[in-house]
């Protein structure tokens, strides 16, 4: 009846995960009950869960990412603590538990922190920057988000029911095959990624179509803000790379569920094919994460230097070059497999070539600051911290791309340090920069500066104290994923890294604190103008938070830095006082499709993991029924009447004129 599921799946004999899970469950229940008592459910359902508004969906993506950052970060703290104590001893985490933790940490951080964070920011901002009312497919957007959330949910269920994969964040066969991993851990992994992978693909299609087909009048390609370009590049990579992941995991699933022989030791399976395919996805994946971050830095550096972005054309070229070249380097993750000198050298050189366009980007940010007026607000701090940190990570990356050097460093803690150096230094810093920069746009008030700055410094210093020692440990021959070790020379570096993690945790905790402080002080931090940073692109041309329809009248763009030009003009005191001609606006109607889909996906995923076949059928039928009902719907739009549009827009315009007039007089 319940497949492989029985009471033994609850790890009663393992206190640590059980307590952790208990705390999480308790917290969730508390929040749910609190919301119920306060009567928030109808509001949440109406305004958030069923929302198809790109801004709301963006915010939910970011919220998911931040919650999962705490989960993944807790895993990181546990790992670092284990390696600090596990010298000549077994530490406090038995191997089967430690191995789940690093697998879960890597999976969660990449798929449920990095991805939702950047997708959330793109969702929130790109339509505003392009001057449009929503993304191309609003309902699908909601489906995409909820499927991602399903994946995250399934991974967290594995804490309590059963186990998670013990194979690393990429489950290399034959270790991940049924013979060597008979438990449900790998199944949790594959199904949660198959489901969330579909969500990601949907988001990718949505954003590419939005950028290519929905830009407002006059927003030609070469007038788009850099963030839109990097969004385009990143989502093109999603569309091209995620199907590879889907196919590869599907093959692993077929091996595990139906006894196929793609990657088994028996009957001619070939494990190298898995390595090959998974990295053909995996390498582009890291650029999917980092390209949007690059876009964020471009916006932030230009805004806080009060200056046009330097070398826009080079930036566009560099972005697209990275997009294409990133598909030609994947073998650098298995130089030591023995493909021979020609193959190694060619892929090594191709990997290095990426340093050129990336370097160009760094220099262009540098020259954007040159001749500017640099304001060290929190987003700018993250950006400068990024530039320095990322160069170091890039250097070690290029070093790893030299095959003979990789022959010594592959799978060492040096590699671990490299990728945290680029991922934390670029993706996480970029996400934080974007979060602080655009928070006032989403909510109408700024985040508290003091806690933000403190968070930045703790995170920056914590990062160096944690990961520089790991470089050293790697040079001392320490490999990754060591549950315990007996080499005395490694010990001091592990202790140092442990201390650094404490600083990092304080940094993250301060970010959480910042949110609470800012919400409490929101009236002081209120931004009425819609343009708190003296921004340059169109998202700042509407109110904060923007109305559901973003722009009362679709803007017409005639130059880059579209909004900056308007302000320059206004400052010269000839602001166009003419009322625009307001029209009725047609907006997509909210829809529970996404949530219902995700519900059935969760049921189906869970049933598949535990081999509960009747439940699988139920989930499938439910999903199909949702699809038909959605397709049968008659009206998926509603009208906002022109009078309402005018009312909302007039308040905004008035506040804005007041602010601009002040600025004009001040000059």
């Amino acid at each position: 009846m319940l497949g492989k599921l029985d009471w033994s799946a609850i790890p009663i004999d393992e206190p640590i995960p059980l307590i952790a899970a208990g705390v999480v469950l308790f917290a969730i229940l508390a929040v749910l009950i609190w919301a119920g008592v306060k009567g928030h459910y109808p509001y949440l359902w109406r305004e958030w869960i069923t929302s198809v508004d790109h801004k709301r969906i963006g915010v939910m993506y970011i919220l998911l990412a931040m919650v999962m950052l705490l989960r993944g970060g807790t895993d990181a703290i546990m790992m670092r603590a284990q390696q600090t104590v596990a010298y000549h001893s077994n530490g406090y985490l038995p191997p089967e538990h430690f191995n789940q933790i690093f697998s879960a940490h890597g999976t969660i951080m990449i798929f449920f922190v990095g991805m939702p964070f950047v997708i959330g920011l793109m969702n929130l901002i790109v339509p505003l920057q392009l001057g449009v009312r929503d993304v191309a497919f609003p309902t699908l957007n909601s489906v995409g988000f909820w499927l991602t959330a399903t994946g995250a949910l399934l991974i967290n269920v594995s804490l309590v029911v059963g186990e998670f994969a013990r194979t690393g964040w990429l489950p290399f066969p034959p270790l991940s095959e049924l013979t060597y991993s008979p438990g449900v851990g790998v199944d949790y992994y594959t199904w949660s990624l198959e489901i969330s992978g579909i969500g990601t693909l949907v988001a990718g299609i949505n954003l590419v179509t939005t950028v290519l087909k929905l830009r407002t009048r006059g927003m030609t390609y070469l007038r788009m803000p850099m963030f839109c370009w990097t969004t385009l590049a990143s989502n093109l990579l999603i569309i091209a790379a995620f199907p590879i992941l889907t196919a590869t995991l599907a093959m692993l699933i077929l091996d595990r569920y139906f006894g196929f022989h793609f990657f088994t030791n028996e009957a001619g399976g070939n494990v190298m094919m898995f390595m090959n395919l998974i990295w053909a996805w995996g390498h582009p994946e890291v650029y999917i994460l980092v390209l949007p971050a690059f876009g964020i830095f471009s916006e932030v550096v230009s805004t806080f230097s009060s200056k046009v972005l330097f070398g826009y054309r080079s930036m566009v070229l560099a972005t697209m070059a990275i997009c294409i070249i990133s598909f030609m380097v994947w073998l650098h993750h298995f130089f030591t497999m023995g493909a021979g000198p020609d193959v190694n050298a060619i892929f090594g050189i191709a990997s290095m070539i990426i340093a050129v366009p990336t370097g160009v980007k760094i220099y262009n940010w540098l020259f954007t600051m040159f001749g500017g007026r640099v304001r060290f607000a929190v987003p700018m701090l993250w950006s400068i911290g990024f530039m320095v940190t990322f160069i170091i990570g890039g250097l070690t990356g290029v070093l790893l791309a030299v095959p003979p050097a990789d022959f010594l460093l592959h799978n060492s803690l040096f590699l671990v340090a490299h990728f945290h150096n680029v991922i934390i230094g670029a993706v996480l810093f970029g996400a934080f920069a974007g979060y602080t920069y655009w928070f006032p746009k989403a909510f109408g008030f700024r985040l508290d500066e003091a806690t933000g700055k403190a968070a930045f410094w703790f995170t920056l210093v914590g990062f160096y104290v944690t990961f520089m020692p790991l470089y050293v440990a790697g040079l001392l021959g320490m490999t990754r994923r060591m549950q315990h070790y007996d080499v005395a020379a490694w010990r001091p570096w592990m202790i140092a890294a442990g201390i650094g993690t404490v600083l990092l945790a304080i940094g993250v905790a301060l970010q959480v604190l910042q949110l609470f402080v800012s919400i409490r002080r929101r009236d002081e931090l209120r931004d009425t103008t819609g343009d708190p940073w003296d921004g340059r692109s169109l998202e700042w041309a509407t109110s904060s938070p923007p109305p559901a329809f973003n722009f009362a009248v679709l803007p017409n763009v005639t130059g880059e830095d579209a909004y900056w030009r308007v302000k320059e003009h206004a400052r010269r005191q000839d602001l166009d006082k003419r009322e625009p001609d307001y029209k009725d606006i047609e907006m997509p109607r909210n829809s529970p499709t996404g949530f219902v889909c995700a519900f059935f996906a969760t049921v189906m995923g869970f049933a598949l993991i535990w081999h509960i076949w009747w439940m699988v059928g139920l989930g499938a039928v439910g999903a199909f029924a949702t699809f038909v009902v959605f397709a049968w719907r008659d009206h998926d739009e509603y009208i906002i009447p022109a009078t309402e549009v005018a009312r909302i827009d007039r308040t905004n315009l008035a506040a804005r004129r007041a602010a601009l007039d002040l600025a004009g007089i001040a000059q």
């Binding site: 091209a240 094919m273 053909a280 497999m337 021979g340």
Partner: protein
């Protein structure tokens, strides 16, 4: 974005699968031509695969070429992808997709053939040398 402007020619852009022609006759002819060409190509493929009239080692190459030709026919006559200026975006997307397919398939085969070659267990090497 209401339905009135939802018409084909208000913008120099075509949806993939759209055809410029709206009259029935030419469109029917288009599909029929496509069908004819593709039947012809398919028949040639099947013929070549089974015959010993052509030089045997060239058969796979010929089959691949024919397959590519036929995919082209389908793209043009059934999916209406042309090189016209209003089709640029669709063609660019297609080109990107094909580039990726080429990199993934070509790269994989190249890498795997090297790996397999370097890693054959002893007795297979001996069999080959025999």
């Amino acid at each position: 974005m209401s339905e009135q402007i939802d018409h084909l020619h208000d913008r120099p852009d075509l949806a993939p699968g759209d055809e410029e022609e709206v009259r029935i006759g030419p469109r029917l002819l288009g599909y029929a031509t496509g069908l004819g060409l593709s039947v012809l190509l398919t028949a040639t493929s099947f013929f070549i695969a089974g015959t010993d009239l052509v030089w045997q080692p060239s058969i796979p190459v010929a089959l691949v070429v024919l397959a590519i030709a036929q995919m082209g026919v389908h793209l043009v006559f059934f999916l209406h992808i042309t090189t016209g200026p209003d089709n640029t975006n669709n063609v660019m997307a297609l080109a990107f997709g094909l580039l990726i397919v080429f990199l993934v398939v070509g790269g994989s085969l190249w890498i795997m053939s090297h790996l397999n070659h370097n890693m054959m267990p002893m007795d297979q090497i001996m069999q080959m040398e025999r």
